[in-house]
């Protein structure tokens, strides 16, 4: 009987093979990026690799174009995340409890920027900016990014608010706390990790975004655009390899952090991009 139970709990060998094989497929390109960043070869991608070096990491960090792109992407992601935190939290506060006509439409509107293909968001913003005579640049990129980042914060905060008891807020007000005190000492501690997780996801999403960005960037070169330019006109293969690894780390490490912040709760951050 006991051994029967064990056999039912253990996957057949072919299923294990397919599952672990699938994981291998998902991680192979990531592993390749990690390997090639330390490659000694400078103009091709031959495999097996020619040799190991740390030389190109120093070269990449001394490259002014790369540094400028990293700094620009960082600034944009920061502004977009801050805007998304404010707008997403407000929307979550409005939508989590009350029902009113048009509520579902508003929910849909928040998801639409990431649900619709990026070319639509990008081209729409571009046509509106052109019509308004707004020159594309830092702010047009940041505005576009903030728009599709809102939903990341909204999803996390709304899930947290739904789980928490609303009575706590009423109790706090009844006991004489002013709204700021209620927000600071009752609401904020409850939603802090959700805000942090949502913020991290928004930051990672913005830092890596390319499709909308190519439409709104004008002549600005964010880090993903710098990489895309290298892909279409390869010049510095070893530097590109290093930058690819940096971007990979900057987009995956935060996801682990966001996951740790929300694991154990019902709605885990990052399960939808």
């Amino acid at each position: 009987m006991h051994s029967d139970q064990n056999r039912a709990d253990r996957a057949p060998w072919w299923l294990r093979l397919l599952a672990w094989g699938g994981l291998g497929f998902l991680h192979l390109p990531i592993a390749m990026i990690a390997l090639y960043a330390f490659n000694t070869e400078t103009s091709a991608y031959s495999f097996p690799l020619k040799g190991f070096t740390l030389h190109w990491i120093g070269v990449a960090f001394a490259n002014p174009d790369v540094l400028a792109a990293i700094w620009l992407s960082f600034k944009i992601a920061l502004v977009a995340t801050l805007l998304a935190l404010v707008l997403g939290t407000l929307a979550a506060g409005a939508l989590y409890r009350h029902t009113f006509p048009g509520k579902e439409a508003i929910g849909l509107m928040l998801v639409l920027p990431i649900a619709l293909p990026g070319i639509i968001t990008g081209l729409s913003l571009l046509s509106a900016f052109r019509l308004g005579g707004i020159q594309p640049g830092f702010w047009t990129i940041a505005i576009g990014h903030a728009t599709f980042c809102v939903v990341m914060v909204y999803n996390n905060v709304v899930a947290r608010l739904r789980r928490n008891s609303h009575n706590l807020i009423e109790a706090s007000m009844d006991l004489g706390a002013d709204p700021w005190q209620t927000f600071r000492y009752v609401l904020l501690p409850q939603i802090a990790t959700a805000l942090l997780a949502g913020g991290i996801l928004a930051f990672a999403l913005s830092f890596d975004e390319i499709i909308v960005t190519t439409f709104t960037a004008g002549n600005e070169v964010t880090l993903p655009i710098w990489l895309l330019n290298q892909l279409t006109r390869p010049r510095d293969v070893p530097v590109t390899n290093v930058v690819a690894m940096i971007v990979m780390l900057l987009t995956t490490l935060p996801i682990i952090a966001a996951w740790r912040l929300t694991s154990g709760t019902e709605d885990i951050a990052g399960s939808g991009k």
Partner: protein
């Protein structure tokens, strides 16, 4: 004491706001609604209006004369070709993702326990969030001549098979990276996690007792899978397919980097607005994926896909 009165006045005001749900709601909603209304919906409408403007091929100017010409041009054979090419790739990628994702999702939902559960979850989420452009770059490295795949099939003496695959019409091309096979592989790789997680979520909700009952009543494992698990997991597959389908339809970077020269909807939109400056036609073209996705969503809704999200 003026300070005290001010304080009392403020407290009365906040009570008033808090006790009137409508006022409170309006205050909360105003900033996000203004932002989305102005920036997003406003832009979408601008694009929609522009798609009815006309474009003069000789002067390269956009005029505000309203016309349906752009939409009529969508139905020209050349443009239908682009739409059909994109649609068939989206369908193939969706199908392949579903086939690859199902066993992985099934293992995650039914067999992974303890640390393995968290491990698999993160291991699927990580490649999903890893930079899109870096993943694309990685595939140019993998598929390059002399690269990993090249080394692999050469050392196993499979060059004949690869050459034969590349000579097939519809699949093949000059090299792995410039073939439809290469483009298909990259698309499938990049959207695969978006298929795994919804299927896993749907399978997670199938009670184990149901499978047990099927076995007790004499069903073979295959029968139990086909008549119980598959129908219950299907909404998850449909939910995942919404992502893989819509993401492939709207992509313009992968078709540009991998595969033969034929245009996709995304690359068409990009060249129309960029090199040519025909924003009205580009706008009309963006409506194609929107309409296809809307149609797809309405079918998916009927198949119960949204219960699995």
């Amino acid at each position: 004491m003026p300070h005290d009165t001010a304080r009392r006045g403020l407290s009365r005001l906040t009570d008033r706001v808090y006790l009137s749900p409508t006022l409170w709601l309006c205050l909360l909603l105003a900033p996000p609604l203004l932002w989305f209304g102005l920036v997003y919906i406003g832009s979408l409408l601008t694009l929609l209006v522009q798609s009815f403007f006309s474009f003069d091929d000789f002067t390269m100017n956009v005029s505000t004369v309203l016309t349906l010409d752009n939409y009529r041009a969508l139905l020209s054979p050349a443009n239908l070709d682009v739409i059909l090419r994109t649609l068939s790739m989206a369908a193939a990628v969706t199908l392949a993702s579903a086939i690859l994702a199902f066993p992985l999702a099934y293992y995650m939902a039914r067999y992974a326990r303890g640390w393995k559960k968290g491990f698999f979850y993160v291991a699927v989420m990580l490649p999903m969030w890893a930079s899109y452009i870096v993943k694309a770059y990685s595939w140019t490295v993998i598929l390059a001549k002399g690269g990993l795949v090249y080394w692999f099939y050469r050392s196993f003496g499979l060059s004949g098979v690869v050459d034969w695959l590349l000579s097939l019409p519809g699949i093949g091309g000059g090299t792995l990276a410039t073939s439809n096979l290469g483009r298909f592989t990259v698309f499938t790789y990049i959207w695969l996690p978006f298929m795994i997680l919804p299927i896993q979520a749907a399978l997670e909700r199938v009670p184990g007792s149901l499978v047990q009952a099927a076995a007790d009543l004499g069903a073979t494992p295959w029968q139990a899978f086909r008549t119980i698990i598959l129908p219950l997991a299907f909404p998850g597959v449909v939910a995942g397919s919404i992502f893989t389908f819509s993401l492939t339809l709207g992509d313009y970077i992968i078709p540009q980097l991998f595969g033969p020269s034929g245009l996709f909807i995304g690359t068409m939109v990009y060249t129309m607005q960029g090199a040519i400056g025909n924003l009205p036609m580009a706008g009309a073209f963006t409506l194609v994926p929107v309409l296809i996705i809307a149609l797809y969503l309405s079918i998916a809704k009927r198949l119960g896909a949204f219960d699995a999200l």
